[in-house]
């Protein structure tokens, strides 16, 4: 397939917006920021891919119409928290196949006026019927991780401390202040052992990127741009027998898919944008991807291995925990961050010399499986 590049990126700050800041307005603003960043005009854009979960029917067309893109091919992509990354992957496929040269990808979500108390599976799913919420699933993972690997509650909490510290350098982050270990440990319990600060917030926001072929870059007058080297997508498998709940086979398979497509291995990765919807999730998913040894992720986090300046910086943006988690926007925001990291535009949170980045999203759950959708995007300088 042809080379595919990210030609520009744009976001709005994630956070809690009033009701009159609509989903459409947020998506339009992020798209305009990405278009300005790449120099793309509406006539340059041949297709629009929009990821969202709670935006309702044809949200992508509602946004595109306001951008002057009515009439172009617009599609909406729902893969729960992987929706934005799935939209990016579809654009990558189409441009790689030669169908288009320049496309717009938007991830957008308005949650604070329609979601409260946490997100959960579809009501028809058996797990939802017995009271499963995503925070509970990760609490079950954390409890078992501590029992199996001797990890401490404090080590797991350090994921939140680290990611909040990183976000102090990110103008687009919902939170831009440090938090202490003591604050994480004493926060209101949500699903024990996890407390409020172990959980990513319910957020509004939007992020967008312009994706282009080499010919598309020329059209935009751009001489060089980071490449999308591979976009993996897998779904969870039905779990048989009594496996380790933290085996993360779904992450392993998603990682191998991305490594194969990009022609790299886990050792080549310099920076990671990880789906830290909950503190423990960052740890076990990094292990599943082969980026940290099994059972060692919590201790390595506490030792600074995944901090800015450490051996493998994870979530320089602040991650979901601190940048915020408007679920359909998150995958697009991760790609924005990798774009800025790979073009030395990340400012105070820049990972020096980063040449290869990986963005990971996991969305949803289906009873009896190890997940619903996992995306893995490798980008190179």
């Amino acid at each position: 397939m042809r080379d595919v590049h990210v030609a520009g990126a744009g976001m709005i700050r994630f956070g809690k917006y009033p009701a009159d800041v609509t989903l459409e307005a947020m998506g339009v603003q992020a798209a305009r920021n990405a278009m300005a960043d790449s120099g793309a005009s509406p006539t340059d854009l041949e297709a629009v891919y929009v990821g969202h979960v709670f935006g309702g029917p044809v949200a992508g067309q509602r946004i595109s119409t306001r951008l002057g893109l009515a009439g172009k091919p617009v599609s909406n992509h729902e893969n729960y928290c992987s929706s934005g990354a799935t939209a990016l992957r579809e654009a990558w496929v189409a441009i790689g196949a030669g169908l288009y040269d320049v496309a717009l990808v938007i991830g957008v979500e308005k949650m604070t006026d329609r979601i409260s108390g946490g997100v959960r599976p579809d009501p028809n799913d058996l797990d939802a019927a017995v009271g499963f919420i995503f925070a509970a699933g990760h609490a079950l993972s954390a409890r078992r991780y501590m029992a199996d690997h001797g990890a401490t509650r404090e080590q797991i909490a350090m994921v939140a401390v680290k990611n909040h510290a990183h976000s102090t350098g990110n103008q687009y982050a919902q939170y831009q202040t440090r938090i202490s270990l003591e604050e994480v440990l004493s926060a209101r319990p949500i699903a024990e052992p996890l407390g409020l600060l172990d959980c990513s917030p319910i957020s509004d926001g939007a992020a967008a990127v312009i994706v282009a072929s080499t010919a598309g870059l020329r059209r935009l007058g751009i001489s060089h741009a980071p490449r999308v080297a591979g976009c993996g997508l897998v779904s969870g498998t039905v779990q048989m027998g009594l496996p380790d709940v933290n085996e993360e086979d779904v992450s392993r398979r998603a990682g191998e898919e991305a490594y194969r497509l990009a022609g790299i291995g886990p050792r080549d990765i310099d920076v990671v944008e990880m789906h830290d919807c909950f503190t423990i999730a960052e740890i076990v998913r990094l292990e599943g991807l082969g980026l940290l040894p099994r059972g060692r992720g919590a201790a390595l986090t506490a030792a600074g291995h995944t901090s800015l300046g450490g051996a493998l910086p994870v979530n320089p943006s602040g991650g979901l925990l601190s940048r915020g988690h408007p679920v359909g926007a998150t995958g697009a925001a991760q790609v924005c961050e990798l774009f800025w990291q790979l073009t030395d535009r990340a400012g105070a949170r820049q990972v020096d010399g980063a040449k290869v980045g990986l963005a990971y999203c996991k969305g949803g759950s289906v009873s009896g499986t190890d997940g619903a959708s996992v995306t893995t995007i490798v980008m190179t300088r």
């Binding site: 409260s116 946490g118 017995v130 009271g131 919420i133 509970a136 078992r144 319990p189 009594l242």
Partner: protein, 134 residues
């Protein structure tokens, strides 16, 4: 009045029974029941089979905050049924949340389903003092 199940496809309430699939080809059991065996890929239209009622807590959490419609706190856990090699996500009751532990023996029971008509029951695992082996 006969107790009704909140999900008759996976649970019958009287006596409390979880329904799983049992593959005719490889004999693996699965919960919830699967039309395609996750072990060998064989398709099956066989009737579900009753699963063992005794298990052990593999992991658990005390849920303190949940969306509207779920009364907190409640204990949610993975229960392993060693006899069937099946894991079930379930409410856990029968002891205070602070006394729940990994490895505790539990037994299947029925309890009223929340936000359902009177007489509609869901499954639950309750702590027992009887050891479940191995």
């Amino acid at each position: 009045m006969t107790a009704m199940s909140f999900r008759p496809d996976v649970f019958s309430a009287d006596p409390p029974t979880l329904l799983g699939s049992s593959c005719k080809q490889c004999a693996r059991k699965a919960f919830p029941p699967r039309e395609v065996c996750p072990g060998c890929g064989a398709t099956s239209d066989a009737e579900p089979v009753p699963l063992a009622t005794e298990g052990r807590i593999y992991s658990f959490t005390v849920v303190r905050q949940a969306p509207a419609g779920l009364r907190t706190p409640y204990v949610l856990g993975y229960v392993d049924l060693p006899a069937d090699e099946v894991r079930v996500l379930s409410r856990i009751e029968g002891l205070p949340p602070e006394r729940v532990e990994i490895g505790l023996p539990v037994r299947l029971a029925a309890r009223p389903a929340e936000h359902a008509d009177a007489g509609v029951e869901m499954f639950v695992f309750r702590h027992t003092t009887q050891e479940v082996g191995p």
